[in-house]
């Protein structure tokens, strides 16, 4: 039955590509989450009227975030080739896609983090200050826990965008389902391979959305 619908699909290759896609997504999501929160916190804390209000730092961070957020991902990959080569010694393979994926996604996520932090009631921050809390205490015990549902739904959106990015990263030989669909499916006119890769990508996206929604709801006590 399955063989009739997908006559040309070589399943071991398909599973390997799936593994590569999941690997690239997972690693880049984890690093983007950490880096994005750090950047988002910097944006939030240095913005006007906040704890570390600092026009210069805010302006520089904003500029960097905006620049990297504006560059189309496919171009970013190409621009980062020299950087990746110095960092990893190669530009092939799933690992080689990671710098571009992270640098592409982290600024995007940082903006979402900043928005999530702005949503926090100013009064709660004031209350923590009135109790004598340090900035680090406010960050780890107020800002992050209070914005967690928004941080999780933000990383869900980012993770789904990253699945799309991994497909584009396939172009530079990063492997994964996008690469397989393009080389084996499109260029060799095997539509069933493209279809199978697409279905697997859709399943991955649905699973990410499900996990994201689950945790967002679980953590939201409002």
């Amino acid at each position: 039955m399955i063989e009739q619908i997908f006559p040309n699909v070589e399943w071991p290759m398909m599973w390997e590509a799936t593994y590569e896609t999941i690997y690239m997504t997972l690693i880049s999501v984890v690093i983007t989450f950490i880096l994005g929160i750090a950047l988002g916190l910097l944006l939030f804390l240095t913005s006007k009227g906040n704890l570390w209000e600092n026009k210069i730092v805010y302006a520089i961070t904003t500029a960097v975030v905006n620049i990297f957020r504006s560059i189309p991902f496919i171009i970013l990959i190409v621009l980062l080739i020299p950087f990746t080569r110095t960092l990893l010694g190669t530009i092939r393979g799933a690992d080689a896609a990671l710098p571009a994926l992270i640098i592409g996604a982290a600024p995007f996520y940082a903006r979402m983090v900043e928005i999530a932090l702005r949503e926090i009631d100013k009064g709660v921050i004031e209350a923590a200050r009135s109790m004598g809390a340090k900035v680090s205490t406010i960050v780890f015990k107020v800002l992050i826990p209070e914005s967690m549902p928004a941080l999780i739904s933000g990383i869900t959106v980012t993770a789904i965008a990253l699945v799309g990015y991994t497909a584009m990263a396939g172009v530079i030989g990063a492997g994964g389902l996008g690469n397989l669909a393009f080389l084996d499916g499109f260029q060799r006119s095997r539509d069933d391979v493209t279809l199978a890769a697409t279905i697997i990508i859709l399943i991955i996206v649905f699973i990410i959305q499900f996990i994201g929604d689950f945790f967002t709801n679980k953590l939201d006590k409002r």
Binding site: D121, G123, V124, E126, A127, A128, R129, S130, M131, G132, A133, K134, T137, K141, V142, P145, E146, M148, L219, K221, R222
Partner: protein
């Protein structure tokens, strides 16, 4: 205990500068419940925020128990804040934490070990009457219960001063009263100094020992709550006092009666402290050949004694009326003959 000397706060705005607090001098005694009343924009919110260093004064000094709050910074200020707690109009609880975890938060900040925290949290939950709700989240509580959590949280580190920033303004009248009773109870039991700001005279009347009236950044009137009720000097104070002593409809009613009874006298009697307990009206009716018509009356309890007002209409011969008024004036009640404006 708290000394505020020549404190001034100027905010820079786009159009120039705004003086929120203007040369304020106050001394607040230990164990006192001190109220600051004013309309919004009077500067009371800025004033109370200078007591725990959330705002720094542009000029002047704030001294609490020998610590110069207006000039200490960093770790010293954070340490001092642990002893100057604050509760808020909108409670400002962390929704991501349960009731117990919210109360535990200031203890975590102070570095109290986990086991002691647990013990202290349980004591506090009992103190504010929230037994059994320790594992609830703020979203599951009513406004009054949220403020109780706020109070428990504020008391966690055994503060010397409790600052109340419009703490009952978001609550319904009944809940307001129960929260105010809790504050009085805490004040008596723990000897805690309480500074509160409000725009409701009801709050001042019910729990404060002394009151400062603020207008345009300045303290325009200051004194014992009963004295201020008895003899409000400034117009703004009179308006605040009327909030409690004269319901809205009084003015209309009096106006109506003045038109109705052209020949009599409408008199407002004010009773303060002991005079509120004398049978003045009975004596008036027995001694004079007058018709006495009681129009409206109200007695308010303050922390320093009772305060009441009574509107009566007297009808009779002119000389009998004059003598009756003399009699009333001699009986240590305030007498005010109401006439058309």
């Amino acid at each position: 205990m708290i000394t505020i000397s020549d404190v001034k706060k100027v905010f820079k705005t786009k159009t120039g500068s705004l003086t929120a607090v203007d040369k304020v001098n106050l001394k607040i005694k230990e164990g006192e419940i001190f109220g600051v009343i004013g309309y919004s924009g009077a500067g009371k919110s800025t004033l109370i925020r200078m007591l725990n260093g959330l705002e720094q004064p542009s000029e002047g000094k704030v001294d609490i128990n020998g610590k110069l709050i207006s000039s200490i910074k960093g770790g010293d200020l954070r340490k001092a804040r642990q002893k100057i707690s604050m509760i808020f109009q909108h409670f400002n609880l962390l929704w991501s934490r349960t009731v117990s975890e919210n109360i535990s938060f200031p203890l975590e900040i102070a570095g109290v070990p986990k086991q002691e925290r647990q013990k202290r949290v349980n004591e506090l939950i009992e103190l504010v009457g929230l037994e059994g709700r320790g594992d609830a989240y703020p979203a599951q509580l009513s406004g009054g219960q949220k403020q109780r959590v706020g109070i428990a949280r504020a008391l966690a580190n055994d503060p010397e001063v409790l600052l109340c920033d419009e703490a009952t303004s978001a609550l319904d009248p009944q809940t307001t009263d129960s929260i105010l009773e809790l504050l009085v109870d805490i004040n008596k039991r723990l000897g805690l100094t309480i500074v509160l700001i409000t725009h409701e005279m009801h709050v001042i009347r019910k729990i404060c020992h002394r009151v400062a009236v603020m207008e345009g950044g300045k303290v325009v009137e200051l004194g014992n709550v009963l004295d201020v009720f008895k003899q409000p000097k400034e117009n703004i104070t009179k308006r605040f006092v009327q909030q409690v002593t004269e319901p809205e409809e009084t003015k209309d009613t009096i106006e109506h009666l003045l038109n109705e009874y052209q020949d009599g006298r409408v008199i407002k009697l004010t009773f303060v402290g002991e005079s509120a307990e004398q049978p003045v009206v009975t004596n008036l009716i027995r001694s004079f050949d007058l018709q006495v018509n009681i129009l409206q009356g109200k007695i308010s309890q303050t922390q320093n004694g009772a305060y009441g007002s009574l509107f009566i209409h007297l009808h009779g011969k002119q000389d009998e009326l004059d003598r009756a008024i003399e009699f009333l004036e001699a009986a240590s009640v305030g007498v005010e003959v109401i006439t058309h404006d």
